[in-house]
Protein backbone atom coordinates (compact mmCIF):
# COMPACT_ATOMS: atom_id res chain seq x y z
CA UNK A 1 0.00 0.00 0.00
CA UNK A 2 1.10 3.57 -0.49
CA UNK A 3 2.47 5.27 2.63
CA UNK A 4 1.20 8.66 1.48
CA UNK A 5 -0.99 10.20 -1.19
CA UNK A 6 2.16 11.83 -2.48
CA UNK A 7 3.63 8.38 -3.09
CA UNK A 8 0.71 7.48 -5.31
CA UNK A 9 1.03 10.76 -7.21
CA UNK A 10 4.76 10.24 -7.74
CA UNK A 11 4.25 6.76 -9.14
CA UNK A 12 1.41 7.91 -11.36
CA UNK A 13 3.62 10.64 -12.78
CA UNK A 14 6.31 8.03 -13.40
CA UNK A 15 3.73 5.89 -15.14
CA UNK A 16 2.64 8.80 -17.32
CA UNK A 17 6.25 9.52 -18.16
CA UNK A 18 6.61 5.96 -19.35
CA UNK A 19 3.39 6.10 -21.36
CA UNK A 20 4.55 9.25 -23.13
CA UNK A 21 8.10 8.04 -23.61
CA UNK A 22 9.38 8.16 -27.16
CA UNK A 23 12.45 6.50 -28.66
CA UNK A 24 15.49 8.60 -27.86
CA UNK A 25 13.92 10.34 -24.85
CA UNK A 26 15.76 10.08 -21.55
CA UNK A 27 13.87 8.30 -18.83
CA UNK A 28 14.90 8.83 -15.25
CA UNK A 29 14.50 5.99 -12.82
CA UNK A 30 15.52 6.22 -9.18
CA UNK A 31 18.28 3.87 -8.02
CA UNK A 32 16.89 0.51 -6.94
CA UNK A 33 18.12 1.00 -3.38
CA UNK A 34 16.11 4.23 -2.99
CA UNK A 35 12.86 3.09 -4.57
CA UNK A 36 10.15 0.61 -3.66
CA UNK A 37 9.20 -0.75 -7.09
CA UNK A 38 6.12 -2.40 -5.58
CA UNK A 39 4.37 0.95 -5.41
CA UNK A 40 4.92 1.45 -9.12
CA UNK A 41 3.63 -2.06 -9.83
CA UNK A 42 0.57 -1.35 -7.71
CA UNK A 43 -0.04 1.87 -9.63
CA UNK A 44 0.12 -0.03 -12.89
CA UNK A 45 -2.45 -2.50 -11.58
CA UNK A 46 -4.73 0.24 -10.29
CA UNK A 47 -4.74 1.89 -13.69
CA UNK A 48 -5.07 -1.41 -15.55
CA UNK A 49 -1.93 -0.93 -17.66
CA UNK A 50 0.31 -3.68 -16.28
CA UNK A 51 0.60 -5.57 -19.57
CA UNK A 52 0.98 -2.45 -21.67
CA UNK A 53 3.71 -1.10 -19.39
CA UNK A 54 5.57 -4.40 -19.20
CA UNK A 55 5.93 -4.70 -22.94
CA UNK A 56 6.99 -1.07 -23.10
CA UNK A 57 9.53 -1.52 -20.30
CA UNK A 58 11.10 -4.44 -22.13
CA UNK A 59 12.41 -1.96 -24.67
CA UNK A 60 14.25 -0.24 -21.83
CA UNK A 61 16.04 -3.34 -20.60
CA UNK A 62 19.60 -2.54 -19.75
CA UNK A 63 18.62 0.75 -18.12
CA UNK A 64 17.91 1.14 -14.42
CA UNK A 65 14.77 -0.99 -14.29
CA UNK A 66 14.91 -3.43 -11.36
CA UNK A 67 14.82 -7.08 -12.41
CA UNK A 68 12.28 -7.83 -9.68
CA UNK A 69 9.90 -5.27 -11.14
CA UNK A 70 10.21 -6.74 -14.64
CA UNK A 71 9.69 -10.23 -13.31
CA UNK A 72 6.65 -9.16 -11.30
CA UNK A 73 5.10 -7.32 -14.24
CA UNK A 74 5.89 -10.20 -16.58
CA UNK A 75 4.17 -12.73 -14.36
CA UNK A 76 1.12 -10.51 -13.95
CA UNK A 77 1.01 -9.81 -17.69
CA UNK A 78 0.96 -13.50 -18.51
CA UNK A 79 -1.83 -14.11 -16.02
CA UNK A 80 -3.79 -11.22 -17.49
CA UNK A 81 -3.22 -12.64 -20.97
CA UNK A 82 -4.49 -16.07 -19.94
CA UNK A 83 -7.58 -14.55 -18.37
CA UNK A 84 -8.23 -12.38 -21.43
CA UNK A 85 -8.28 -15.41 -23.68
CA UNK A 86 -10.56 -17.17 -21.23
CA UNK A 87 -12.94 -14.20 -21.26
CA UNK A 88 -12.82 -14.08 -25.05
CA UNK A 89 -13.97 -17.69 -25.18
CA UNK A 90 -16.81 -16.95 -22.77
CA UNK A 91 -17.79 -13.93 -24.85
CA UNK A 92 -18.05 -15.91 -28.07
CA UNK A 93 -19.94 -18.75 -26.38
CA UNK A 94 -22.41 -16.37 -24.72
CA UNK A 95 -22.99 -14.40 -27.92
CA UNK A 96 -23.69 -17.65 -29.75
CA UNK A 97 -26.11 -18.83 -27.07
CA UNK A 98 -28.03 -15.57 -27.23
CA UNK A 99 -28.02 -15.62 -31.02
CA UNK A 100 -29.46 -19.13 -31.01
CA UNK A 101 -32.31 -17.82 -28.88
CA UNK A 102 -32.97 -15.01 -31.34
CA UNK A 103 -31.30 -12.28 -29.28
CA UNK A 104 -28.82 -10.11 -31.13
CA UNK A 105 -25.93 -8.75 -29.11
CA UNK A 106 -23.01 -6.43 -29.71
CA UNK A 107 -19.76 -7.07 -27.90
CA UNK A 108 -18.63 -3.88 -26.23
CA UNK A 109 -15.29 -3.16 -24.50
CA UNK A 110 -13.41 -6.11 -22.97
CA UNK A 111 -11.92 -8.66 -25.35
CA UNK A 112 -13.72 -7.13 -28.35
CA UNK A 113 -12.13 -3.76 -27.71
CA UNK A 114 -8.76 -5.35 -27.10
CA UNK A 115 -8.90 -7.20 -30.41
CA UNK A 116 -10.28 -4.30 -32.44
CA UNK A 117 -7.90 -1.68 -31.09
CA UNK A 118 -4.76 -3.54 -30.00
CA UNK A 119 -4.91 -6.36 -32.54
CA UNK A 120 -4.69 -9.03 -29.87
CA UNK A 121 -5.62 -10.01 -26.34
CA UNK A 122 -2.31 -9.67 -24.53
CA UNK A 123 -1.81 -5.93 -24.23
CA UNK A 124 -4.99 -4.87 -22.47
CA UNK A 125 -6.41 -5.95 -19.13
CA UNK A 126 -10.01 -7.10 -19.60
CA UNK A 127 -11.96 -7.36 -16.37
CA UNK A 128 -15.40 -8.47 -17.50
CA UNK A 129 -17.71 -8.84 -20.48
CA UNK A 130 -20.10 -6.22 -21.84
CA UNK A 131 -22.88 -6.97 -24.27
CA UNK A 132 -25.35 -4.51 -25.78
CA UNK A 133 -28.80 -5.89 -26.53
CA UNK A 134 -32.02 -4.33 -27.74
CA UNK A 135 -34.23 -2.94 -25.01
CA UNK A 136 -37.25 -4.94 -26.16
CA UNK A 137 -35.29 -8.18 -25.74
CA UNK A 138 -34.06 -7.33 -22.26
CA UNK A 139 -36.58 -9.34 -20.24
CA UNK A 140 -36.07 -12.47 -22.32
CA UNK A 141 -32.29 -12.06 -22.21
CA UNK A 142 -32.35 -11.65 -18.43
CA UNK A 143 -34.46 -14.79 -18.07
CA UNK A 144 -32.09 -16.72 -20.30
CA UNK A 145 -29.07 -15.53 -18.32
CA UNK A 146 -30.75 -16.68 -15.12
CA UNK A 147 -31.45 -20.02 -16.75
CA UNK A 148 -27.77 -20.34 -17.61
CA UNK A 149 -26.94 -19.85 -13.93
CA UNK A 150 -25.89 -16.23 -14.12
CA UNK A 151 -26.92 -14.23 -11.07
CA UNK A 152 -28.12 -10.65 -11.50
CA UNK A 153 -26.21 -8.31 -9.20
CA UNK A 154 -27.85 -4.93 -9.38
CA UNK A 155 -25.65 -2.02 -8.41
CA UNK A 156 -28.07 0.75 -9.35
CA UNK A 157 -30.43 1.92 -6.64
CA UNK A 158 -31.16 -0.11 -3.52
CA UNK A 159 -32.08 -3.60 -4.72
CA UNK A 160 -31.94 -5.01 -1.22
CA UNK A 161 -34.69 -2.61 -0.14
CA UNK A 162 -36.74 -2.53 -3.28
CA UNK A 163 -36.05 -5.71 -5.24
CA UNK A 164 -38.95 -5.17 -7.57
CA UNK A 165 -37.69 -1.72 -8.52
CA UNK A 166 -34.54 -3.02 -10.15
CA UNK A 167 -36.03 -5.76 -12.23
CA UNK A 168 -35.79 -5.74 -16.02
CA UNK A 169 -39.58 -6.05 -16.30
CA UNK A 170 -40.03 -2.78 -14.40
CA UNK A 171 -40.37 -0.13 -17.12
CA UNK A 172 -39.30 2.62 -14.75
CA UNK A 173 -36.05 0.84 -13.95
CA UNK A 174 -35.40 0.19 -17.62
CA UNK A 175 -35.98 3.85 -18.36
CA UNK A 176 -33.58 5.05 -15.68
CA UNK A 177 -30.83 2.45 -15.67
CA UNK A 178 -28.62 1.22 -18.49
CA UNK A 179 -27.37 -2.23 -17.64
CA UNK A 180 -27.77 -5.30 -15.48
CA UNK A 181 -24.57 -6.94 -14.24
CA UNK A 182 -24.62 -10.71 -14.04
CA UNK A 183 -22.16 -12.83 -12.12
CA UNK A 184 -21.16 -16.18 -13.62
CA UNK A 185 -22.07 -19.23 -11.57
CA UNK A 186 -18.44 -19.86 -10.65
CA UNK A 187 -17.93 -16.13 -9.91
CA UNK A 188 -15.11 -16.16 -12.44
CA UNK A 189 -16.36 -13.11 -14.30
CA UNK A 190 -19.18 -10.60 -14.72
CA UNK A 191 -21.33 -9.99 -17.76
CA UNK A 192 -22.97 -6.59 -18.09
CA UNK A 193 -26.04 -6.58 -20.29
CA UNK A 194 -26.52 -3.05 -21.62
CA UNK A 195 -29.59 -1.69 -23.33
CA UNK A 196 -28.25 1.86 -23.24
CA UNK A 197 -24.76 3.23 -23.14
CA UNK A 198 -25.62 5.65 -20.37
CA UNK A 199 -28.33 5.92 -17.73
CA UNK A 200 -30.95 8.61 -18.11
CA UNK A 201 -28.70 11.55 -17.24
CA UNK A 202 -25.75 10.30 -19.25
CA UNK A 203 -27.81 9.38 -22.27
CA UNK A 204 -27.23 12.64 -24.17
CA UNK A 205 -23.48 12.11 -23.80
CA UNK A 206 -23.46 8.67 -25.44
CA UNK A 207 -24.02 7.51 -29.00
CA UNK A 208 -27.58 6.70 -29.98
CA UNK A 209 -27.87 3.02 -29.11
CA UNK A 210 -30.63 2.40 -31.67
CA UNK A 211 -28.24 3.36 -34.44
CA UNK A 212 -25.48 1.01 -33.26
CA UNK A 213 -27.11 -1.98 -34.87
CA UNK A 214 -27.25 -0.67 -38.40
CA UNK A 215 -23.54 0.24 -38.23
CA UNK A 216 -22.28 -2.85 -36.40
CA UNK A 217 -19.39 -4.89 -37.77
CA UNK A 218 -18.17 -8.48 -37.41
CA UNK A 219 -15.01 -9.03 -35.44
CA UNK A 220 -12.82 -12.13 -35.50
CA UNK A 221 -11.53 -13.14 -32.10
CA UNK A 222 -9.10 -16.02 -31.64
CA UNK A 223 -12.02 -17.89 -30.09
CA UNK A 224 -14.68 -17.10 -32.69
CA UNK A 225 -16.62 -14.26 -34.30
CA UNK A 226 -18.83 -11.65 -32.63
CA UNK A 227 -20.69 -8.54 -33.70
CA UNK A 228 -19.41 -5.31 -32.26
CA UNK A 229 -19.59 -1.54 -32.60
CA UNK A 230 -18.02 0.15 -35.59
CA UNK A 231 -14.90 2.19 -34.89
CA UNK A 232 -16.75 5.50 -34.86
CA UNK A 233 -19.41 4.33 -32.37
CA UNK A 234 -16.71 2.69 -30.28
CA UNK A 235 -14.74 5.93 -30.15
CA UNK A 236 -17.71 7.98 -28.94
CA UNK A 237 -18.86 5.27 -26.53
CA UNK A 238 -15.41 5.01 -24.96
CA UNK A 239 -15.19 8.79 -24.61
CA UNK A 240 -18.56 8.86 -22.84
CA UNK A 241 -17.59 5.93 -20.63
CA UNK A 242 -14.29 7.53 -19.64
CA UNK A 243 -15.96 10.85 -18.88
CA UNK A 244 -18.58 9.10 -16.80
CA UNK A 245 -15.82 7.74 -14.58
CA UNK A 246 -13.89 11.00 -14.76
CA UNK A 247 -11.03 9.17 -16.51
CA UNK A 248 -10.11 7.55 -13.22
CA UNK A 249 -8.34 4.69 -14.96
CA UNK A 250 -5.49 5.49 -17.35
CA UNK A 251 -6.22 2.29 -19.26
CA UNK A 252 -9.25 4.01 -20.75
CA UNK A 253 -7.18 6.91 -21.99
CA UNK A 254 -4.63 4.53 -23.48
CA UNK A 255 -7.56 2.87 -25.31
CA UNK A 256 -8.45 6.23 -26.85
CA UNK A 257 -4.86 6.86 -27.90
CA UNK A 258 -4.55 3.42 -29.48
CA UNK A 259 -7.87 3.93 -31.23
CA UNK A 260 -6.69 7.28 -32.57
CA UNK A 261 -3.79 5.44 -34.22
CA UNK A 262 -6.51 3.97 -36.43
CA UNK A 263 -7.99 7.40 -37.08
CA UNK A 264 -7.04 7.05 -40.72
CA UNK A 265 -9.76 4.39 -40.94
CA UNK A 266 -12.39 6.55 -39.28
CA UNK A 267 -15.36 7.76 -41.22
CA UNK A 268 -15.17 11.31 -39.87
CA UNK A 269 -18.32 12.41 -41.63
CA UNK A 270 -20.14 9.74 -39.66
CA UNK A 271 -18.72 11.07 -36.41
CA UNK A 272 -19.66 14.58 -37.44
CA UNK A 273 -23.21 13.44 -38.06
CA UNK A 274 -23.34 11.65 -34.71
CA UNK A 275 -22.19 14.66 -32.70
CA UNK A 276 -24.58 16.88 -34.59
CA UNK A 277 -27.43 14.73 -33.26
CA UNK A 278 -25.82 14.30 -29.83
CA UNK A 279 -23.75 17.43 -29.14
CA UNK A 280 -22.91 16.29 -25.64
CA UNK A 281 -21.31 13.16 -27.09
CA UNK A 282 -19.04 15.57 -28.90
CA UNK A 283 -18.25 17.28 -25.60
CA UNK A 284 -17.06 14.05 -23.99
CA UNK A 285 -15.05 13.19 -27.11
CA UNK A 286 -13.46 16.63 -27.06
CA UNK A 287 -12.61 16.11 -23.38
CA UNK A 288 -10.94 12.80 -24.19
CA UNK A 289 -8.85 14.36 -26.93
CA UNK A 290 -7.67 17.16 -24.64
CA UNK A 291 -6.69 14.68 -21.92
CA UNK A 292 -4.92 12.45 -24.45
CA UNK A 293 -2.87 15.47 -25.46
CA UNK A 294 -2.24 16.81 -21.96
CA UNK A 295 -1.51 13.53 -20.17
CA UNK A 296 -0.19 11.24 -22.89
CA UNK A 297 1.25 13.77 -25.32
CA UNK A 298 -0.80 12.58 -28.29
CA UNK A 299 -2.13 15.23 -30.64
CA UNK A 300 -5.63 14.83 -32.03
CA UNK A 301 -6.00 14.11 -35.76
CA UNK A 302 -6.71 17.15 -37.90
CA UNK A 303 -10.27 16.07 -38.64
CA UNK A 304 -10.98 15.59 -34.95
CA UNK A 305 -9.84 19.12 -34.19
CA UNK A 306 -12.39 20.50 -36.67
CA UNK A 307 -15.33 18.30 -35.69
CA UNK A 308 -14.64 18.16 -31.95
CA UNK A 309 -13.31 21.57 -30.96
CA UNK A 310 -12.47 22.16 -27.32
CA UNK A 311 -14.61 24.78 -25.65
CA UNK A 312 -13.64 26.79 -22.60
CA UNK A 313 -15.87 24.52 -20.53
CA UNK A 314 -14.15 21.38 -21.85
CA UNK A 315 -10.70 22.80 -21.23
CA UNK A 316 -11.65 23.70 -17.65
CA UNK A 317 -12.88 20.16 -16.92
CA UNK A 318 -9.80 18.65 -18.56
CA UNK A 319 -7.54 20.90 -16.51
CA UNK A 320 -9.27 19.89 -13.28
CA UNK A 321 -9.01 16.17 -14.07
CA UNK A 322 -5.38 16.55 -15.08
CA UNK A 323 -4.53 18.30 -11.82
CA UNK A 324 -6.30 15.62 -9.79
CA UNK A 325 -4.35 12.87 -11.50
CA UNK A 326 -1.01 14.63 -11.23
CA UNK A 327 -1.38 15.80 -7.63
CA UNK A 328 -3.28 12.86 -6.15
CA UNK A 329 -2.38 10.05 -8.52
CA UNK A 330 -6.02 9.54 -9.44
CA UNK A 331 -9.09 11.50 -10.38
CA UNK A 332 -11.92 11.92 -7.92
CA UNK A 333 -13.92 9.47 -10.02
CA UNK A 334 -16.96 11.63 -9.43
CA UNK A 335 -19.11 11.06 -12.48
CA UNK A 336 -21.60 13.83 -11.95
CA UNK A 337 -18.86 16.42 -11.45
CA UNK A 338 -17.74 15.77 -15.01
CA UNK A 339 -21.25 15.57 -16.34
CA UNK A 340 -22.38 18.76 -14.67
CA UNK A 341 -19.33 20.71 -15.75
CA UNK A 342 -19.57 19.65 -19.40
CA UNK A 343 -23.13 20.69 -19.99
CA UNK A 344 -24.98 23.94 -19.60
CA UNK A 345 -28.36 22.75 -18.31
CA UNK A 346 -28.53 24.02 -14.74
CA UNK A 347 -31.98 22.67 -13.90
CA UNK A 348 -31.03 19.20 -15.09
CA UNK A 349 -27.96 19.42 -12.93
CA UNK A 350 -29.98 20.33 -9.84
CA UNK A 351 -32.42 17.55 -10.52
CA UNK A 352 -29.62 15.01 -10.90
CA UNK A 353 -27.90 16.12 -7.71
CA UNK A 354 -31.15 15.93 -5.77
CA UNK A 355 -31.86 12.45 -7.06
CA UNK A 356 -28.45 11.18 -6.00
CA UNK A 357 -28.83 12.76 -2.56
CA UNK A 358 -32.17 11.07 -2.03
CA UNK A 359 -30.81 7.75 -3.25
CA UNK A 360 -27.63 7.75 -1.15
CA UNK A 361 -28.33 9.78 2.01
CA UNK A 362 -25.75 7.87 4.09
CA UNK A 363 -23.01 8.58 1.57
CA UNK A 364 -24.01 12.21 1.63
CA UNK A 365 -23.77 12.36 5.41
CA UNK A 366 -20.31 10.84 5.25
CA UNK A 367 -19.31 13.24 2.50
CA UNK A 368 -20.41 16.27 4.54
CA UNK A 369 -19.45 15.39 8.11
CA UNK A 370 -16.61 12.92 7.90
CA UNK A 371 -14.47 14.15 5.04
CA UNK A 372 -12.31 17.28 4.92
CA UNK A 373 -11.33 18.43 1.46
CA UNK A 374 -8.52 20.69 0.22
CA UNK A 375 -11.14 23.42 -0.34
CA UNK A 376 -12.00 23.34 3.36
CA UNK A 377 -8.37 23.68 4.28
CA UNK A 378 -7.88 26.46 1.78
CA UNK A 379 -10.66 28.51 3.38
CA UNK A 380 -8.62 29.03 6.51
CA UNK A 381 -5.41 27.56 7.84
CA UNK A 382 -5.90 26.13 11.30
CA UNK A 383 -3.16 24.97 13.68
CA UNK A 384 -2.94 21.23 14.24
CA UNK A 385 -4.72 21.28 17.61
CA UNK A 386 -7.70 23.09 16.05
CA UNK A 387 -8.06 20.96 12.91
CA UNK A 388 -11.17 19.33 14.34
CA UNK A 389 -12.92 22.62 13.53
CA UNK A 390 -12.71 21.70 9.83
CA UNK A 391 -15.49 19.18 10.51
CA UNK A 392 -17.70 22.10 11.50
CA UNK A 393 -16.48 24.49 8.81
CA UNK A 394 -17.12 21.94 6.09
CA UNK A 395 -20.90 21.53 6.44
CA UNK A 396 -21.33 25.30 6.78
CA UNK A 397 -19.25 25.92 3.67
CA UNK A 398 -21.16 23.31 1.69
CA UNK A 399 -24.56 24.64 2.68
CA UNK A 400 -23.54 28.19 1.74
CA UNK A 401 -22.04 27.03 -1.53
CA UNK A 402 -24.98 24.99 -2.69
CA UNK A 403 -27.64 27.46 -1.56
CA UNK A 404 -25.86 30.22 -3.47
CA UNK A 405 -25.54 28.04 -6.53
CA UNK A 406 -29.19 27.00 -6.39
CA UNK A 407 -30.33 30.59 -6.03
CA UNK A 408 -28.16 31.67 -8.95
CA UNK A 409 -29.48 28.84 -11.09
CA UNK A 410 -33.09 29.57 -10.35
CA UNK A 411 -32.55 33.29 -10.96
CA UNK A 412 -30.79 32.79 -14.28
CA UNK A 413 -33.44 30.30 -15.37
CA UNK A 414 -36.24 32.66 -14.40
CA UNK A 415 -34.55 35.61 -16.10
CA UNK A 416 -33.85 33.55 -19.17
CA UNK A 417 -37.46 32.42 -19.35
CA UNK A 418 -38.69 36.01 -18.96
CA UNK A 419 -36.41 37.25 -21.74
CA UNK A 420 -37.57 34.47 -24.01
CA UNK A 421 -41.21 35.38 -23.35
CA UNK A 422 -40.54 39.07 -24.06
CA UNK A 423 -38.84 38.16 -27.31
CA UNK A 424 -41.79 36.01 -28.30
CA UNK A 425 -44.28 38.72 -27.39
CA UNK A 426 -42.41 41.43 -29.31
CA UNK A 427 -44.15 42.64 -32.54
CA UNK A 428 -42.77 41.09 -35.70
CA UNK A 429 -41.32 44.40 -37.01
CA UNK A 430 -39.28 44.72 -33.83
CA UNK A 431 -38.00 41.14 -34.04
CA UNK A 432 -36.71 41.64 -37.53
CA UNK A 433 -34.34 44.41 -36.41
Amino acid sequence: MFATLDGRAVETRRLLQLLTHREGDTLEWPPASAWDWRQFAETCETHGVTSFIYWRLQALMGRAVPDELLEHLHLNSLQICARNYQLAKQLVDLSSLLQNEGISSLAYKGPALSMAVYGGLALRHCSDLDLVIRKEQLVRAADLMAGWNFEATHTWGRPQLTPYMCRPDNPRHVEQAKEIPFRASDSAYFVDLHWCLGDRFWLPFSPDVDKLWERSVCLDLPTGTVSTLCLEDLFLALCAHGARHRWGCLKWLVDIVELLHKAGSFNWSRIEEMVRIRPWAGATASLALVLARDLLGVAAPLEAGKILPATARTLAVASAIREEILTRGESSGNENATLLALEGRPLQRMKYRTLLILRYPDSLLREIFVRVSPQDRALTRLPKNLEFLYYIIRPVRLVAKHCTRAARTLWSTAVGARLARRRADRPITDQRR
Binding site: N336, L356, E367, S373, K401, H402
Partner: protein
Protein backbone atom coordinates in the same frame (compact mmCIF):
# COMPACT_ATOMS: atom_id res chain seq x y z
CA UNK B 1 13.36 -36.14 -37.34
CA UNK B 2 11.42 -33.42 -39.17
CA UNK B 3 9.05 -31.77 -36.74
CA UNK B 4 5.76 -30.34 -37.97
CA UNK B 5 4.01 -27.48 -36.16
CA UNK B 6 0.28 -27.49 -35.56
CA UNK B 7 -0.95 -24.25 -37.06
CA UNK B 8 -4.47 -24.86 -38.25
CA UNK B 9 -6.10 -24.31 -34.86
CA UNK B 10 -3.46 -22.03 -33.36
CA UNK B 11 -3.83 -18.26 -33.08
CA UNK B 12 -0.59 -16.35 -32.64
CA UNK B 13 -0.06 -12.90 -31.22
CA UNK B 14 3.34 -11.26 -31.65
CA UNK B 15 4.66 -9.17 -28.77
CA UNK B 16 7.99 -7.30 -28.53
CA UNK B 17 9.94 -10.11 -26.88
CA UNK B 18 7.56 -13.06 -26.88
CA UNK B 19 4.86 -14.74 -28.89
CA UNK B 20 1.52 -15.81 -27.46
CA UNK B 21 -0.05 -18.89 -28.97
CA UNK B 22 -3.68 -19.76 -28.29
CA UNK B 23 -4.70 -23.36 -29.00
CA UNK B 24 -8.37 -23.30 -29.97
CA UNK B 25 -8.63 -27.05 -29.54
CA UNK B 26 -7.49 -27.25 -25.95
CA UNK B 27 -8.33 -23.64 -24.99
CA UNK B 28 -4.80 -23.22 -23.65
CA UNK B 29 -2.56 -20.19 -23.93
CA UNK B 30 1.19 -20.57 -24.35
CA UNK B 31 3.94 -17.99 -24.14
CA UNK B 32 6.98 -18.65 -26.34
CA UNK B 33 10.33 -16.93 -26.31
CA UNK B 34 11.35 -15.45 -29.66
CA UNK B 35 13.70 -18.37 -30.21
CA UNK B 36 11.05 -20.98 -29.52
CA UNK B 37 8.57 -19.08 -31.68
CA UNK B 38 11.02 -18.96 -34.60
CA UNK B 39 11.62 -22.70 -34.23
CA UNK B 40 7.88 -23.42 -34.09
CA UNK B 41 7.21 -21.30 -37.17
CA UNK B 42 9.96 -23.08 -39.07
CA UNK B 43 8.73 -26.60 -38.26
CA UNK B 44 7.12 -27.39 -41.61
CA UNK B 45 7.76 -31.14 -41.67
CA UNK B 46 10.70 -30.84 -44.09
CA UNK B 47 13.40 -29.36 -41.90
CA UNK B 48 15.76 -31.30 -39.69
CA UNK B 49 17.19 -30.18 -36.39
CA UNK B 50 20.34 -28.98 -38.12
CA UNK B 51 18.22 -26.95 -40.57
CA UNK B 52 16.45 -25.34 -37.64
CA UNK B 53 19.79 -24.49 -36.02
CA UNK B 54 20.90 -22.72 -39.20
CA UNK B 55 17.61 -20.85 -39.42
CA UNK B 56 17.98 -19.60 -35.85
CA UNK B 57 21.54 -18.54 -36.48
CA UNK B 58 20.49 -16.62 -39.57
CA UNK B 59 17.48 -15.08 -37.82
CA UNK B 60 19.26 -13.89 -34.69
CA UNK B 61 22.75 -13.38 -36.08
CA UNK B 62 24.51 -15.49 -33.44
CA UNK B 63 25.67 -19.11 -33.24
CA UNK B 64 22.93 -21.36 -31.91
CA UNK B 65 23.41 -24.39 -29.71
CA UNK B 66 21.59 -27.46 -31.08
CA UNK B 67 20.74 -28.31 -27.50
CA UNK B 68 18.59 -25.19 -27.32
CA UNK B 69 16.71 -26.22 -30.45
CA UNK B 70 16.16 -29.68 -29.01
CA UNK B 71 14.99 -28.22 -25.73
CA UNK B 72 12.53 -26.01 -27.59
CA UNK B 73 11.23 -28.96 -29.58
CA UNK B 74 10.80 -30.99 -26.40
CA UNK B 75 8.83 -28.19 -24.77
CA UNK B 76 6.77 -27.56 -27.90
CA UNK B 77 5.92 -31.22 -28.07
CA UNK B 78 4.92 -31.28 -24.41
CA UNK B 79 2.67 -28.25 -25.01
CA UNK B 80 1.07 -30.11 -27.94
CA UNK B 81 2.09 -27.42 -30.38
CA UNK B 82 3.67 -29.93 -32.73
CA UNK B 83 1.85 -32.60 -34.67
CA UNK B 84 1.74 -35.82 -32.71
CA UNK B 85 4.53 -38.17 -33.73
CA UNK B 86 6.56 -35.58 -35.64
CA UNK B 87 9.30 -35.63 -32.99
CA UNK B 88 9.13 -39.18 -31.88
CA UNK B 89 10.96 -40.85 -34.75
CA UNK B 90 14.01 -42.71 -33.39
CA UNK B 91 17.16 -40.75 -33.96
CA UNK B 92 20.40 -42.31 -32.71
CA UNK B 93 22.02 -38.93 -32.32
CA UNK B 94 18.89 -37.61 -30.60
CA UNK B 95 19.19 -40.08 -27.70
CA UNK B 96 22.53 -38.75 -26.63
CA UNK B 97 21.43 -35.21 -27.37
CA UNK B 98 18.33 -35.74 -25.28
CA UNK B 99 20.50 -36.66 -22.36
CA UNK B 100 22.51 -33.52 -22.89
CA UNK B 101 19.35 -31.48 -23.23
CA UNK B 102 18.02 -32.93 -20.01
CA UNK B 103 21.05 -31.67 -18.16
CA UNK B 104 20.89 -28.30 -19.82
CA UNK B 105 17.14 -27.91 -19.31
CA UNK B 106 17.54 -28.29 -15.60
CA UNK B 107 19.72 -25.23 -15.53
CA UNK B 108 18.01 -23.11 -18.21
CA UNK B 109 14.73 -21.20 -18.27
CA UNK B 110 11.65 -22.50 -20.08
CA UNK B 111 11.28 -21.49 -23.70
CA UNK B 112 7.61 -22.40 -23.75
CA UNK B 113 5.28 -21.64 -20.84
CA UNK B 114 1.65 -22.66 -20.62
CA UNK B 115 -0.30 -19.83 -18.98
CA UNK B 116 -2.80 -20.27 -16.21
CA UNK B 117 -5.52 -17.70 -15.59
CA UNK B 118 -5.56 -16.26 -12.04
CA UNK B 119 -8.30 -17.06 -9.54
CA UNK B 120 -11.39 -14.84 -9.91
CA UNK B 121 -10.80 -12.33 -7.10
CA UNK B 122 -8.79 -9.63 -8.84
CA UNK B 123 -11.79 -7.95 -10.41
CA UNK B 124 -13.79 -7.73 -7.19
CA UNK B 125 -12.55 -4.18 -6.70
CA UNK B 126 -13.69 -3.00 -10.12
CA UNK B 127 -14.95 0.55 -9.52
CA UNK B 128 -17.95 -0.18 -11.71
CA UNK B 129 -19.24 -2.62 -9.12
CA UNK B 130 -19.90 0.14 -6.56
CA UNK B 131 -22.77 2.61 -6.75
CA UNK B 132 -21.94 6.15 -7.91
CA UNK B 133 -21.14 8.60 -5.12
CA UNK B 134 -23.39 11.54 -4.25
CA UNK B 135 -22.51 15.03 -5.52
CA UNK B 136 -18.92 15.83 -4.74
CA UNK B 137 -18.82 18.79 -2.43
Amino acid sequence: MKPLARKGTIFSENLPQEVILYDKTSNKVHCLSKTAAAIWESCDGTRTVDDLVHIIEARFGAPSDPAVVLQALAELEKAELLEAGSVTLPDPAFASRREAVGKIAMASTALVATLVAPTPVAHASDPKRTPPPPPHA
